[in-house]
Symmetry: C2
Subunit: 249 residues, 2 copies
């Protein structure tokens, strides 16, 4: 079954890795913006977005994986100023904004997040919203507070890296939930537990594979586990269709 | 035998790739600056250098490979202005400038190359000097012209990616020659031919592995071929010692 890995950092993967992923069935992916150090200059992010849109798509094409691009300011790499970044994000040819969101929920992070959400409303752009490993429940709640405060459309938000603890609140608030299968995040069996309880409608799968050691086949492996237990039509929804619809591809 | 890959682009390799390289014996490498699209802003290169110095070294450490950093403006990624880049290069904690040099030998490339060479003289920094795949002989000659014109010290220059056609002129001019083993560049047997004829003193080995599909084990494989045919002491010089001495590590 062909798979859509809705959140990777393709820059951290060699072209041979991307080829191996495509050969295993990952025929589409969204590569999310991230800079592995705190940039000194906002210009660095603008060129990063250009790199994702031009070079990463091109690398994907060579491997048989359609790479779509999410651009945005990750909370861990906020430059000293970012007005030009926001200006550029408005016009650039991206599939989504992401990953954006809160890490430590500082005032600076909240401002950057809000600015990007407001821009997303204006240009009608789907957003990949990160939730952190630490204090996930609390920060997810703060994230909802911001989304609600500015009246962010539920149809534009995927809340990513949900846990067993946060999944229910995400669904109750009518957002799409991103199931990230990776050591330290969800295990395959936890995905089984989640869809057993909540169905297949509001989930998308991803691996978050990138700069760190990671299982780049996590989505395929999860799909294979799901196929053993559930109807193929249902599995196809989380493996491919829900993501394609949400990101309007 | 432990190997020193004197020219890679570690950013194009996943952390698992770097681990595999280290496990095969590549215990040290120099990662060279390159941006896979033409940057719109010079600031992008400054943050790139910071990334190479901080993040790539850190990634290397995790894998058992000591990654040293070469910073500089590659002829294929010259930003619209670069005065700030040169200023920053002067003070940054790099092992070398590289890769720098000529690709098409345009006037702009020549100016950027010369500026960096002059800076290298001033701060006494070894330089990794690229020669292109096309018109290698002719562009190598132009490169020599520039080096001679500004009186560049031979002890600071490795002329990289030499071919069977250019190796002799490089040695005659008293530069170190970089033997890049990779499809489209040198084959292992060609390295054998070269050291048979010219000895081991003035060569360093590298793979140039990075963003494109490439044999990341090329240096180890070459060293294994050399060990079959030559004295281990000699092989050790091209595999490790010459590079360590040239780059003053």
């Amino acid at each position: 079954m062909k798979c859509f890995d809705t959140h990777i950092h393709s820059e951290g993967r060699s072209v041979e890795d991307l080829t191996a992923m495509a050969n295993e069935g990952i025929k589409a992916a969204i590569t999310c913006a991230f800079y592995p150090i705190k940039p000194m200059f906002q210009e660095t992010l603008i060129d990063l977005f250009r790199k994702l849109i031009d070079f990463e798509k091109y690398r994907g094409k060579k491997t048989g994986m359609e790479i779509h691009t999410a651009i945005g300011i990750h909370p861990r790499c906020i430059p000293p100023t970012y007005t030009k970044v926001l200006e550029m994000m408005e016009g650039m040819d991206s599939t989504a904004f992401g990953e954006i969101g809160l890490e430590d929920a500082t005032q600076e992070e909240i401002e950057v997040f809000e600015s990007q959400l407001k821009l997303a409303i204006r240009v009608d752009k789907p957003c990949i919203i990160h939730t952190p490993r630490n204090n996930k429940k609390e920060v997810t709640k703060k994230t909802f507070g911001i989304l609600e405060k500015i009246g962010f459309p539920e149809t534009l938000a995927v809340i990513d890296h949900v846990s067993l603890e946060t999944v229910e609140t995400v669904l109750k608030a009518n957002y799409i939930a991103g199931l990230t299968v990776q050591p330290g995040k969800l295990r395959e069996e936890e995905v089984v537990t989640i869809v057993e309880e909540h169905g297949f409608e509001n989930f998308i799968l991803n691996s978050d594979t990138g700069f760190s050691p990671s299982d780049m086949f996590a989505v395929v492996k999860t799909v294979n586990v799901l196929i053993e237990k559930f109807d193929k039509k249902d599995v196809k929804r989380v493996a491919w269709e829900n993501g394609m619809r949400f990101f309007r591809i």
